[in-house]
């Protein structure tokens, strides 16, 4: 009898299709509209190749951390530790290079490994101890802040950062394109392929869609959730490393604000092209919207307070759009 859920037929199919179409493309239209408006308002500063490259470059760090977060939210969990983790890893990588005189490559490899470890810890706490992921990652994040202070006493590591490490974020090793853009493109393409095109990606999507059904279909749900956290952790470490290189210092709390940006991007992304479903391409577009927004505000010299207003408002709008999309998909 009630095979269709309540509300399924309340809207006419054509109205529903129209609304859904609008919702799916609303974010992309928003991005386009933003670019057009900024271009008209500031024809000499905004719509230039250099500015676009600059925006993409700025967007890259947020994009990588948001891309990682996307994996955590696809498997149905939230990872609030990413901002703090990125800050800690930025401090650690600088410390390893400056104080411990480790080769740059090795230092980065260690930090990425530690990022995976943080993700593993998050994942184990959530799946084995059955702690809600908001609480688990908030707790782990706070512990990370503590570790970061313990390591650096809150004093930025500035002196003695080698040029080689700075070149990581500032260099243009391929086709004159800033390195962070290249790294971001590789990471996002890999994440996209993983989720959309591999067998494990299907399991990731299934676990996010319905963990009970996924488990009874023979999928190792805990394993997949842990994987989501690990990827989120590695991406946070990568963002932290690139940020330290860009700033030329390891600073406690430098990357904390990426947490909100990443969440806003991920939720905006879920309302993009699909009905409230988290996906990597969506996160890509979501991040662009936010970073272009910030860039526009900067160009027009908008006061600092307005950037916070923008960030908070866009987070709420993003989540609202996302749940609206999901509501329509379920009806």
């Amino acid at each position: 009898m009630s095979d269709l859920p309540i509300g399924a037929r309340r809207l006419s199919p054509s109205a529903k299709a129209g609304l859904s179409l609008f919702a799916r493309y609303a974010t992309i239209l928003g991005l386009a509209a933003m670019i057009v408006v900024f271009s008209l308002l500031s024809p000499e500063a905004f719509p230039t190749f250099n500015n676009f490259i600059n925006v993409l470059n700025q967007a890259s760090l947020a994009m990588i951390i948001a891309g990682g977060l996307t994996l955590a939210v696809i498997v149905g969990e939230l990872d609030l530790s990413i901002g703090y983790a990125a800050s800690l890893h930025g401090v650690l990588v600088t410390g390893l290079i400056v104080h411990d005189k480790l080769p740059i490559g090795l230092a980065i490899a260690i930090v990425l490994g530690l990022g995976a470890l943080v993700g593993l810890v998050n994942g184990l706490i959530v799946t084995k101890l059955r702690v809600n992921s908001v609480i688990a990652t908030l707790g782990v994040g706070t512990i990370i802040v503590g570790l970061s202070f313990a390591y650096s006493a809150g004093v930025p590591i500035v002196a003695g950062v080698p040029e080689g490490f700075l070149q990581l974020a500032l260099g243009r090793w391929l086709f004159g394109i800033p390195n962070p853009i290249i790294v971001m493109a590789v990471v996002m393409a890999a994440l996209w392929a993983l989720v959309e095109r591999t067998a494990i990606g299907q399991e990731i999507q299934a676990v996010g869609g319905n963990p009970i059904a996924a488990r009874l279909a023979g999928i190792g749900v805990d394993r997949i959730k842990i994987l989501g956290f690990v990827i989120s952790g590695v991406c946070a470490a990568l963002t932290g490393t690139l940020l330290a290189s860009r700033l030329g210092s390891g600073t406690t709390s430098a990357a904390d604000s990426y947490l909100l940006t990443a969440f806003a991007a991920v939720f905006l992304g879920s309302a993009t092209l699909r009905d409230g479903e988290f996906h990597v391409l969506g996160t890509f577009i979501g991040t662009l919207i936010i970073v272009f927004g910030f860039n526009g505000l900067n160009i027009f010299g908008a006061p600092t307070f307005s950037q916070y207003v923008f960030q908070g408002a866009i987070l709420i709008v993003a989540v609202a759009l996302s749940s609206l999309g999901r509501m329509m998909a379920e009806s």
Partner: protein, 517 residues
């Protein structure tokens, strides 16, 4: 049987509810194309029809959840417009749905009174006074749980009783029941029937929607049949037969299902279970499931059958006993383990446990077959072509009715959703397939197809274990049936002894009974 059916009408007063030529379309799709039916006070009126025939739409209209495009609804002979659930309630109509809603943290009494105005004393809700009013009604309906018990512990059956109590407290004159026995055991259903008969005697009208024709024939004085959005037959008195109902539902003559033979069952055990137990629902269960066999597992809801299935599939771990799969020790630590060993499981609640509703049919099908649709094991990228082939083959083999393989599975009908869950396990040959209530809430046609499918799988050598709460279903489908009661296997029936009556008797007896053909 039919004495009171038209009592009200013969006395010259109009029936409580009349629906006249009601139509409703959604966009281009006509859900109702002019349906009519009437329900008199003191009548149990059956409403049957295949999934998608328009029963749900009519119920939604009556409940004030949606508005008809045309036609009239009359209550006590007066035209009414029920444009909200509140108005429908004031008109004296109460609705009890398939999937019952209640608040687990609240008491039974609080659930009964949910959303109703309550007696207060000094501005504080006076639960004691309310309980005094409600207790006799609850007692009449047969609610055994104390009113101050937490509703969380209630069985589905008790929930129905709580909801009926609620309807009576609301002074409902018509209670619409949508698939009331879908989740009830035979004993609980019997209790519900006697309560429905009591309701009828006290002048309450009941609109009884069900796929189960046995119940319809037992309870109803009149039956309206919907087909493709039309009311195609109203049967009463001597016309009211199973044959007539089925023909009206299907729109043609139906052959009796072929009775199966058990010749091809080999003696070899696929799955052997010895003294398996997990407190409190499964106690020292032993049996052999043989290759090529359809083994039924009957019994009352709550007898421990689903819990047993979960042990077999590794969803829970047994506390005692052991299993062997094709002679080798088998102790799955998770469903993933069980799948690796060659088991498949079709869970009871397909929407909650079986499917990812927002994902496509192809996606849902491929979940247990990911290794078969990747390009190569070492580079596990999904091949779109292989995924499509897998889906198209399942759609063809199981006659799944869908616009395409990319249709979100949540939009399919119940029977087709069930086929998707079953089909998931067919592509990769399973040694053992466990199905928990595979035909619940599925229409007559799809049910027959699922039965045939299960028999075909066994014919290919698969060992199939089917849990069903419908005693009439097991003899049609199974070579042999076990009956569980209170966590133990209390009966084994095969051959001529495998009948509906014996299954029911064993479910209640609780005594050990073993009968072979």
């Amino acid at each position: 049987m039919n004495d009171s059916a038209n009592r009200a009408e013969t006395l010259g007063s109009p029936p409580f509810l009349s629906v006249r030529s009601v139509s409703k379309s959604y966009g281009g799709a006509e859900a109702l194309r002019g349906v009519s039916l009437s329900v008199s006070s003191g009548e149990v009126h059956g409403l049957v029809g295949a999934n998608g025939a328009g029963k749900s739409t009519l119920i939604r209209i009556l409940a004030g959840l949606t508005q008809p495009d045309g036609g009239d609804i009359l209550v006590d002979g007066r035209r009414v417009v029920a444009d909200s659930p509140q108005v429908a309630g004031r008109l004296g109509m109460s609705f009890i749905h398939q999937e019952l809603a209640f608040v687990p943290g609240m008491t039974v009494l609080e659930n009964i009174m949910l959303g109703m105005p309550k007696k207060t004393r000094l501005g504080v809700v006076d639960w004691r006074a309310i309980a005094k009013d409600v207790a006799p009604i609850a007692g009449r309906v047969g609610v055994r749980a104390p009113l101050d018990a937490n509703a969380k512990g209630l069985s589905t059956a008790e929930n129905w009783l709580v909801n009926i109590t609620r309807a009576l407290v609301l002074r409902a004159r018509l209670i619409v029941m949508d698939e009331p026995t879908a989740a009830l055991s035979a004993a609980e259903a019997e209790r519900l029937f006697s309560i429905i008969r009591d309701l009828r005697r006290s002048g309450v009208a009941v609109l009884y929607v069900s796929h189960r024709l046995d119940e319809i024939l037992e309870l109803c004085q009149r039956v309206t049949v919907f087909r493709d959005g039309r009311s195609v037959a109203e049967l009463a008195g001597t016309e009211l037969t199973r044959q007539a109902i089925v023909e009206a539902i299907v729109g043609g003559v139906v052959d009796a299902p072929a009775k199966r033979t058990s010749a091809r069952v080999s003696g070899e055990a696929a799955l052997s279970v010895r003294a398996l137990g997990r407190a409190p629902r499964v106690k020292a269960v032993s049996f052999d499931l043989r290759k090529g066999e359809v083994l039924g597992l009957g019994g009352l809801v709550g007898a421990g059958r689903t819990e047993l299935a979960r042990l077999l599939f590794g969803a829970d771990r047994p506390q005692t006993g052991s299993m062997t799969l094709e002679g080798k020790p088998f102790a799955p630590r998770s469903p993933a383990d069980a799948v690796k060993s060659g088991l498949g499981f079709v869970p009871e609640e397909r929407r909650v446990e079986g499917l990812i509703l927002t994902k496509s049919l192809a996606f849902n099908l491929s979940l247990a077959n990911l290794q078969s649709i990747v390009f190569h094991r070492t580079a596990p990228f999904i091949s779109g072509a292989r995924r499509r082939t897998l889906a198209e083959r399942a759609i063809r083999d199981l006659a799944i009715r869908t616009a395409s393989a990319e249709m979100p599975v949540g939009r399919l009908s119940g029977g087709n959703q069930q086929k998707v869950v079953i089909a998931r396990w067919l592509a990769s040959k399973r040694k053992v397939l466990i199905l928990d209530e595979p035909t619940r809430g599925v229409d007559v046609g799809a049910r027959a197809e699922i039965h045939r499918l299960i028999r075909d799988l066994a014919a290919e050598g698969m060992a199939v274990l089917v849990i069903s709460s419908e005693p009439e279903e097991l003899p049609d489908m199974c070579d042999r049936a076990l009956v569980m009661a209170e966590g133990r296997i209390v009966g084994e029936l095969a051959g001529a002894a495998l009948t509906r009556e014996r299954i029911i008797a064993a479910s209640y007896a609780g005594a050990v009974e073993r009968q072979e053909a």
